[in-house]
Amino acid sequence: MFLIRSIQAELIKLKYLPILWLCATVVFAILLVVFTSHYIDVNSVATLGRSPWLKIKTASAAIFSVFMIIPFVVLFISAAVYIEHQAKGWKQQYTVSTSRAAVFFSKLLSLLLVILITLFILIIGLIACAYLLNFLLPELEFNYYKIPIFIFFKTLAHTFLATLGVIGIQYFLSLRFKGFLIPAGFGIVAFIIGIILGSVNNPLAVYYPYSYPIIAQDYGMFIRDKIGVVEYGWINNVEMYSILIFLVFILFACILETRKNVID
C-alpha cells in the first residue's frame, strides 16, 4: 500500500510543466514526422497486398528508438530528480517513517511508469494518426487491415528493455549530482557517441548502453551482425546487457542512497 501511495505522491510532483511538455513533444514530434512522411510520399508508402500498419510501425519505432528515446529519458529523469534537489525534499522525504529504499524504489517506479505511459500514448497516437491519414488518403488502406496491436506493443517493449540500462545510469547520476546540467549533459554527450558507434557499425556498441535502443531492433539502418547483436529467442544480448546494467546501477544507487548523510 505504501508503494502505491508513494507513487501517487511522486506523480503529483511530476505535475511540472516542462516535464509534461517534454513527454508531449516526444510523442507529437514522432507523430508529425510519421504523418508528414506518409502524406508527402504516399506513392511509395502505399503497397498493394501489404499492411500499411507494419510500415508505420517500423517508421515510428526507428525514429523513436534511434533519435528520441535516449534524449527523452535523459532529460526526463534529470528533470524529475532535479525537482527533488531543488525543493530540498530529501530531508523531508527520508523522515516519513518508511525505509529509504522504499522511497528510492517508489521514485524509480514512478519514473518508469511515466515512460511506459508515454510509450502507450505514442501507440494510441500512431493509431489515431493512421486513421487520419486514411481519411485524407484512402489509398493507404489502413482500414482494410487489422491493427497489429501486439506487434506495436512488442516493438516498444523491446525499445523499453534496450533503454533500461540508460535509465539505470541516468537515475544513478541524477541522484548523485544535485544540478540538472551534469546528468543531462552527460547523457546527451553519451547519446551522440552512441549514435556514432551504431552508425559506423562498431562492435563496441554492444558494450555501450547508449547505443542499445539504436541497435536492439532491425530498422534496416545498421548492420547488426557486424556489430554483434545476437538473438536468443524473444530477447537479444543487447537487451540482456541493458537489464543487467540497469540492475547493477540501481542496486549501487540504492546502497549509496540508504547510507548517505542527508545534509541539505
Binding site: 510532483k13 525537482i83 525534499g89 527520508y94 523522515t95
Partner: protein, 300 residues
Amino acid sequence: MTAIQLEHLFFGYRKDEFILNDVNLTVPKGSIYGFLGANGAGKTTSLRLVLGLLKAQRGTIYVNGTDTKQAYPEQLRTIGSMIENASLYPHLSAKDNLRIWSKYFNISTQRIDEVLELVSLTEAKKKKTEAFSTGMKQRLGLAIALLHDPEILILDEPTNGLDPLGIIDLRNLLHRLRDEGKTILLSSHMLTEVEKLVTRIGILKDGKIVFEGSMNELQALKQQNLEILLRVDEQQKAFNLIDAKYQTQLEDRYIKLSVTHERELPVIVKKLVGEGIAVYEIIHQRSDLEKLFLSVNKEL
C-alpha cells in the same frame, strides 16, 4: 518521561574531527525546549541526527524511551519536522504540496484543510509556492510538519523570515500545541523569541552542551555575573577608586562594572561612601536571555 534524549553523542563528517562532541541532552515530554547556539555550533546537525538524516559515530538517541537505531524508521511517525527551510515544490500549490505528504502518511484531505487553517494559509492554498513570501513558506513548512499530527515537533529556526506578527502567531500556535500535549524541540538564534516560548533550554557551543536547564536555572547562573551601573557625584574619582578587576567603564553619567557575585557590591559601595563619594543610584542591569546566552558562551 523524556521525549528525546541524546546520550554521549559524537558526530563528524571526517573520522576524529567531531562537530558534536559528547552531546547530552534531555527533552521532557510536553515541554517546549529551546536549543540555542551560534551559527555552526551544531544545532542543525543534532536535529538531523535525531531524525536519522545523519548517522552518529558514537552515542545513543532515544525517542520516547526507545533507542532510535532499534525503532528506525517506524519511530519517525511520532515526529514532525522542519529543518532549516521548508521542503517545498515551487511549481505546486500549497495544497498540492500538502497532498504529497498526505499520501506518504495516508492522511485524509480534510486534515490538509485543517493544517492550512492552523497556519493561516487557507486563502493561499491554490497559489503556487514559488510566489510565497519567506514567512508563508515557513508556515507551510510548519503545516507539513503538523500534517500527521505528531507527538513531537522538531523545528529548526522556525521564526526565520517571519514578520513580528507572524512570530507572535507562531508563538501562540506553539503554546497551543504544547497545551495539547505535544513536545516541541526548537532551535533558534533569535534569543528574545525563545525566551518567551521555552520551558527548558540547552545551549550548544562548539559541539558541546555548555548549559542545560530551566529558564530559572539560567537566570540563577546569571546572578553570579552581574552588570552594575552606578551613578555617583564624583564620577572620575569613583572610577579611579574601583578596582580594575571589575572591568569598569564610563558610560554617560554612569560607571559600568561587572561583579562575579552580588555580595561584592556592598563592599564597593562602602569604599566609595568612605571616600566621601555620594552614591545616588545602583542599577542591576536586567539580563535578558541574549545576555545570559552570551555570558554562558563567553565563560567557556
